[in-house]
């Protein structure tokens, strides 16, 4: 187990290195000059060139790369070209917002999706099953930002229960007010995914011999469904949840903008617009790390859900 984790983390380092190199080159290939963007459109070429020099952007790209790698190895990810602040600090300031939103919407998605999926599976081809399938399809096909606007119109304007600017903090009530609508907006889409996977995984398991055996020997139906069947259907659910976590963090970009929440997504958009190379590099490290960690956790969760899975 420990060996497995260590090996996976070692692989993660290789992945990180590859991603970093790719990002480093890509962001520089894209046209756009950070110095010009910082100084604005009334600055002369001379002023822009002077700033480029100060930012080290006039060095050959391989030299910039070496400087960057040397810094990265020391744990120095550079400073944002726009704000002049260390990249890591800027990322850490908003990271909690994104993580909270992701986790709460994931929990919401599982809490809604798993019971609905199970319920639909055991009522296969009945009205309730169709209703669940149609609504989950609707959830999947609905653009998240549209859902977000509808939620705002309903629960911030028509019924003024929540703020439009979902960025309050400081107290539990403020936190709850700020997270509810964004989390519901993302959570419903997650729930749609989870419902569909749970339903199909359950259908497969419910037709297994051991389920029939369990019923035949008189195990109560509820216990058969929740203990025998669901437990065995967990692996595909965990896989989807793990995969979806990555998507969720990506989806949060739009959610953050519509709900005016701080977060990684907004930081990324800003860094892209401003061609803030160090910031983009730093953020890619964070995103890659998150995906690698989630994959690792997913693998570990397989072992917990199904003791037959051996991690080597």
């Amino acid at each position: 187990m420990t060996a497995f984790v260590v090996r996976r983390l070692a692989f993660a380092c290789v992945t990180l290195f590859a991603v970093l190199t790719l990002v480093f080159v890509l962001v520089r290939i894209v046209p756009g000059d950070p110095a010009q963007l910082i100084l604005g459109d009334q600055a002369s070429r001379e002023a822009i060139d002077a700033l480029r020099q100060r930012l080290g952007l006039n060095l050959p790209i391989w030299e910039q790369y070496l400087v960057f790698l040397a810094g990265a190895l020391r744990g120095d990810w550079g400073v944002s070209l726009v704000s002049g602040q260390p990249v890591i600090g800027e990322v850490l300031k908003v990271l909690p917002w994104t993580i909270q939103l992701t986790i709460v919407s994931l929990i919401l998605g599982i809490a809604i999706g798993v019971p609905l999926g199970v319920y639909a599976a055991i009522h296969r081809n009945r009205v309730i099953d169709y209703a669940v399938r149609v609504s989950s399809l609707l959830g999947l096909s609905f653009p998240p930002f549209v859902a977000a606007i509808i939620l705002l119109l309903a629960f911030a304007i028509a019924l003024p229960w929540f703020p439009v600017i979902s960025a309050r903090s400081g107290s539990l009530a403020a936190w709850y007010q700020s997270i509810t609508l964004p989390a519901v907006s993302l959570g419903l889409i997650t729930a749609a995914y989870v419902t569909r996977v749970t339903r199909s995984a359950m259908l497969e398991v419910l037709s297994e011999d051991y389920v029939r055996t369990a019923r035949a020997k008189g195990v109560p139906w509820n216990a058969v469904v929740w203990r025998h069947a669901l437990r065995n259907a967990l692996i595909p659910i965990i896989t989807v949840v793990g995969l979806y976590l990555g998507i969720l963090i990506g989806n949060s970009v739009l959610t953050e903008i519509v709900f005016s929440r701080p977060g990684l997504g907004k930081l990324l958009i800003g860094a892209l617009n401003q061609r803030d190379y160090p910031m983009l590099q730093g953020m890619m490290v964070i995103y890659t790390l998150i995906v690698v960690l989630v994959n690792l956790l997913t693998d570990l969760a397989y072992g917990v859900a199904d003791p037959r899975v051996k991690l080597k």
Partner: protein, 514 residues
């Protein structure tokens, strides 16, 4: 499930009602995701400039609410004089002005420091504006003397409360260095208090403000990038003042809200098509004239909305000191355009490329222009790229036609110099935004810059505009005004016609009436 729904709704009720803003505190919603560098000599975006303008003063200022450079009034300088040649300027600094947060008295030293800082390429986006500055001296604690190498048209504008004219406190810059942009220190009615990334900047009243303590106690400047979210938050009362979506539909819709004031203010950003006169087929003046004849400026204004836009009058925005309000622009005449094209050897029409930004307001305009040009047999091939790419590529001469939309300090010289003086041609070391490679009006632009007789100066500017129009270096299209909305219980404390910082000034007199 039912229980869960009830629990969630119950909890929502518990948390409601929301706390509304106190009426001594103003909450502004700005359409950007975050603050940039909050340094008045660096900031070049509308969101940053607007916020900083509430914290800083100039040596002189434009009357709040006005953008007319002929009505300049004292700010940190109580009075000023200049020699007849306009090359030596002496400013008497107001006594007893305090820098924010205990950084001491603002004196001539700070003034000299600010001018030098704004003139320095390494610390300023506006160093160009001060290229004529020769010496900055402080004969005594309250006197500042600026010597120019040559006279500068509208020099006072460069030391006014906009861009490089903003006055910083030396001690604060020295102490904080790069961190000055994290906690900007000025002398204005409001002081920097707090910054939360991607959320807001909070300003508090400067009780020692030399014009008197502000009526408002606090300003929260919130970053709300989504237009829809800003509108909704304004409706729900979370925001008192918002930066509008810059189009007529928004304006019409917002005006229908109760208790709301919607304003389309100066300056108008002039939308111009710069035609690169050095590349084929635009090097043929007949092709350029054809483009000019093919554009129906009045129809564009109908399309853009008459409340928020107006017809372009010249290659310089209207209302500037020196703008020729009756410049001889080409009338709309598609038949003539076609004839000119045929004459130039393109009887079957012509295709010309433009690299264009995806910025919505600008994109809808170029599409309207494309439709108009089509009628004259000119096929405009629009290559859409995102905004930063656009800025990079047009500066590399990659776009034969460049659509640019901008407002500048309202003296014709600034616009003419940046867009039409050959020194500003893109690709050169002194490049600014001359995308057309225009060089036909250099003599007039430069002579006007150092002309000391105002009447003569205006004549030279007029001549320059005529030459540029005649050579069709650029085709002006329309002007976009700045749209804002606020609760009608907010009294700005002055008559608002416009603001050079593109945000309404919030002064010591701004207050809520209820």
């Amino acid at each position: 499930m039912k229980k869960l729904v009830i629990a969630v709704m119950g909890a929502a009720f518990l948390a409601a009602p929301l706390a509304f803003a106190q009426k001594k505190s103003l909450v502004v919603g700005m359409g950007s995701a975050d603050a940039g560098k909050l340094d008045p000599h660096i900031a070049s975006t509308t969101p940053d400039k607007g916020l900083l303008s509430w914290m800083f003063n100039g040596l002189v200022r434009l009357k709040p609410g006005s953008i007319n450079p002929e009505f300049i009034e004292p700010d940190l300088a109580e009075s000023w004089t200049s020699n007849p040649a306009g090359t030596e300027w002496t400013f008497k600094i107001r006594r007893g002005v305090q820098c924010h947060h205990g950084y001491g008295e603002y004196t001539a030293d700070d003034a000299a420091f600010s001018i030098r800082r704004a003139a320095n390429k390494a610390t300023s986006s506006y160093s160009n504006d001060f290229s004529a500055v020769d010496k900055v001296e402080t004969p005594d604690k309250y006197t500042l003397k600026i010597t120019l190498k040559s006279p500068v048209a509208g020099f006072l504008g460069y030391v006014a409360n906009v861009n490089g004219g903003n006055q910083v406190c030396k001690k604060a810059v020295d102490e904080m260095g790069e961190n000055f942009a994290k906690k900007p220190i000025g002398t204005g009615p409001f002081m920097f208090a707090e910054y939360q990334p991607q959320q807001f900047v909070k300003l508090t009243a400067n009780k020692q403000y030399f014009r008197g303590a502000p009526a408002l106690e606090e300003i929260t400047y919130r970053y709300v990038p989504a237009d829809s979210a800003r509108d909704l938050a304004f409706q729900s009362g979370e925001l008192d003042m918002i930066y509008g979506k810059q189009d007529q539909v928004w304006m019409d819709r917002t005006m229908k809200l109760p208790g709301v004031k919607v304003v389309a203010m100066e300056p108008g950003e002039l939308s111009v098509l710069s035609l690169n006169i050095t590349v084929k087929p635009l090097d043929d003046i007949r092709v350029r004239q054809a483009i000019a004849y093919a554009i129906d400026r009045k129809a564009i204004v109908v399309f853009k909305g008459a409340g928020s836009s107006r017809v372009a009058v010249s290659v310089v925005p209207s209302g500037y000191l020196g703008t020729d309000e009756k410049a001889p622009l080409y009338p709309y005449d598609p038949a003539k355009a076609k004839a000119l094209l045929t004459e130039a050897g393109f009887p079957n029409g012509i295709t010309i490329k433009t690299i264009h930004t995806t910025l919505t307001g600008m994109q809808t305009l170029i599409e309207a222009v494309q439709a108009q040009l089509k009628k004259a047999g000119i096929n405009l091939d629009i290559e859409l790229v995102e905004h930063a790419t656009f800025h990079a590529q047009i500066r590399k001469d990659l776009s034969p036609i460049v659509h640019y939309q901008a407002a500048r300090f309202p003296v014709a010289d600034v616009y003419l110099t940046q867009f039409f003086d050959s020194a500003s041609i893109v690709g050169t070391p002194t490049a600014v935004t001359n995308f057309s490679h225009c060089n036909v009006a250099d003599a007039d632009i430069r002579a006007a810059r150092s002309a000391t007789d105002p009447a003569k100066q205006k004549e030279l500017w007029k001549a320059a505009q005529e030459k540029i129009i005649k050579a069709v270096c650029a085709v002006p299209v329309y002007e976009q005004l700045q749209l804002w909305a606020w609760k009608d219980t907010l009294d700005l404390g002055y008559q608002l016609q416009g603001s050079l910082n593109l945000s309404p000034p919030i002064t010591e007199k701004t207050r809520f009436t209820k």
